[in-house]
Symmetry: D4
């Protein structure tokens, strides 16, 4: 069994790297959005031409990024969505809803301070974790049946 | 043509009432989540028994509310998602993602100050409006072809 | 919002009648399997001709009953599955799995003594109740937002 | 033609090993749930933290296990479900219903003493066998057209 | 529960009329193909213009008839397919395959002399009957739980 | 049998009116896009605010119109697509492709001078007609089995 | 582009071998039912135990064969269905209907004497051929764009 | 992440070659229709026999070509549709609609002079480009996050 895992959400900490590193040796293929914030914001106008209005600048970028995001989620067995300390992160919650509607196994990753605000998202998840290492433990258990410790 | 419209998101202003009132005479059926904040938070334990831990209190409530939310979205032709001034509103973004994955026509309603943070959600929408009256105008146009003014 | 509710499982107590009676006045349409045990067991041979072997007697009956069961589940918004005190009730668990795979909202109804054995079924459910009256309260809350008491 | 086969149900006898061993040389890929009973029961709390109440202990474990179970069934061409002598095995029947709703080819494996109680499950199956060796014979026939003996 | 039933196959005996008459008082809606053989054969050229080659004459007619056939099957809960004494009736078997792939409940109606030749079709069915009256009895049982006699 | 028919394509002749008038007395429900050319072009900016660039003016309008178009096609049993003498009518061909992918019964309406250029669209259709009256005859035949003349 | 092709229907002539041989060098993967008539008829009882009644003998075999047939069709890009001179071949027409409902590209292979009786099947096909060599030519053209001669 | 890209539309300029050459080194698999205009027009009669009427000559060819086109679109992650200077190109718009209905990521490629006429197609796209090199830049960005320049 090979697991395809899409890592959605927060792009300002190293949580993806920690999961990928921790999963070394497991039969997992990871995908993720473009995590270069500047490139992600400007891709639309950089390729398809400039816009005067910020809203269209954003629109062109968001639609380009959707090509990668939608494929990543559609191909995934598991979608991990990380909510961090900063920003509104509505795109993370949007990805979670998108993944849930497609019947993907959803793992949500956030600190306890967000538990109440994320209760609808968590309720759709098969696991709610606080630390990236727990996600690694989940992947190891799902693939091998081996528990930590 | 009858339109079924699900009104998701913010529950602390009268935007739903303004849309429903404005659409009087149009062939529209509206659905919405339970908008009584206290009932929505406590429904799980009120019906299925108390919990010591807040996270399970919330979990039971969120799953009960999902019965209504999922049906409302699944039955809808159009899902309107309103992002207000307060709270993180991750459930609104989750609903938007869920609706997008099901191929529903999505209308997003928010002030310009949230445009950048909501660009991925807006990019999935067929209309981005600032005022409830614009949603009414959209419904009227879609059903009758008549524009405002 | 009209809810279509399919009542699956145990046929030897009055739990269906209690739910239907309790839901009087709510916008709910109920379906259920044939609950006449003898008719349900013998329908195949009674209509399509006798069999010497019990296994084909059962097979013909079970397939006939599937016409009603599958339609009831396919049309439902909510599938309530009741596990009682007696019998193995594998068909109830089968219906629960069938409903879960179709994305139906699942409510499971059983006593606490079965909680561990039913944990996989309960994990797929949006609510786990012990008493039929709780199912009525759920339906009322989902439709009207009104909590008991 | 490669067959993907998911082996669901009873975890206390060696039926899986007998099928896997018997199918040596055939173009079959097998998946199965975690069959370490203790790990399967405790995985949720071992990874995601302890619970005071048994029901949430079970809930967290059952949801984690669902990540593997749902993928195994979703990827399978054939789902074999084994009902043994012990326990209620509602999760086996749940898997059978889940697989049936997804249109998977279902093979049910049980002794004749369970035939009546399993008639609805059997009626959804393309084969009902008593011995693991018959499942091997089915896989060989489906892949090569060769019958036993 | 309302059942939508599509009556496919043989058009040269009164089996449809017997089923419709027998089901008087039951909550059933019947659909069927155009059963006027001449109109069915010639509809394409009668409306869309003549053809020199018989194969295109037939092609235009068969495609026009597919508008009705596909809708009838797609809307049906139950598809009854009747194989009679005459003709090859490949369109009846085609309809049965089409219905099976859509997950419709299939009832096959034929004499015992065709049992071996129809074994693949029968194997996909939930009931195999010989007489139209048995179909009526099935519809009555499915809707009311009442058995004949 | 009620047929829902969506009338897509050319908006500068009276073909829709001729079909609707001709179908008087038949059990048909018609839908169509907004056929007021000016309103259709300007709806986006009229409701959601002006744009400096024509491409965004068009974009906002086209997306608003998609709310109606997609619902009309999704709800239809039959999609009739008319190609007229003027304009490129790429939206008509787009609607035809959209309808074909959803498995709708497609009827294409155009003069013989466009037959070669439309061969891929026609090949996906169940009928290719030249005159609106032929569409009426098709609807009458599909519903009643009665041929013209 | 790799094409997966399922070869359904007649099992008494060498048409499959001629297609497979002719397609040497093309990027095609072929599947087919078990074409050993005796094994195909007896597989059910040979593996799952004998039956007194011929109808259950056939039923067990037909359901076992469906494991292979359904997978072959479900995995295919193209389903070729051959109708020969002998037998009723209802299973071939059933496969054609099944394939059509799944949106597979259908190629029908038969002599001109069956054209009228097969008009509904042919109308669902993307090609109607008389000789296996034409199927080879189609596969070559679809994969390489090269026409015969 | 491997991207499968289908290149639909105009066949008289070298835009496909420029995209394929530009994408050298990227993890992309390209498919396209047969771009030999004469072969594409005549394939039906060349393989399946001549026709007197041009409409059936075209019909047989268009249906054969659909085998390749439908598979190419169905397998694709991204469908690029190019509208050139010549011809009506209704088949390109048809492919765009077909791809949109299947939820494929759509990239439209055309000069600014067609922007108004293509506004409905563009509104369904995730990117609208003028030059093949922009498509290459999109593919590079989606796969690697690297922007041009």
């Amino acid at each position: 069994m090979t697991l395809r895992v899409y890592l959605s959400g927060e792009i300002h900490t190293d949580w993806r790297e920690r999961i990928v590193a921790g999963a070394t040796g497991l039969d997992v293929v990871f995908d993720a959005p473009v995590t270069d914030h500047a490139a992600s914001d400007d891709c639309g106008v950089a390729i398809l031409g400039p816009e005067d209005k910020k809203v269209w600048h954003d629109h062109k970028g968001a639609r380009l990024n959707a090509i990668r995001t939608r494929k990543g989620i559609a191909d995934a067995d598991i979608v991990v969505v990380r909510f961090g300390e900063q920003y509104r992160q509505w795109n993370a919650a949007f990805d979670a809803g998108f993944a849930a509607a497609l019947g993907k196994s959803l793992i949500v990753l956030h600190g306890p301070e967000h538990a109440h605000a994320l209760k609808e998202v968590d309720a759709a998840a098969l696991a709610v974790a606080e630390h990236p290492e727990q996600v690694v433990q989940i992947l190891r258990y799902v693939l091998t049946g081996i528990l930590p410790g």
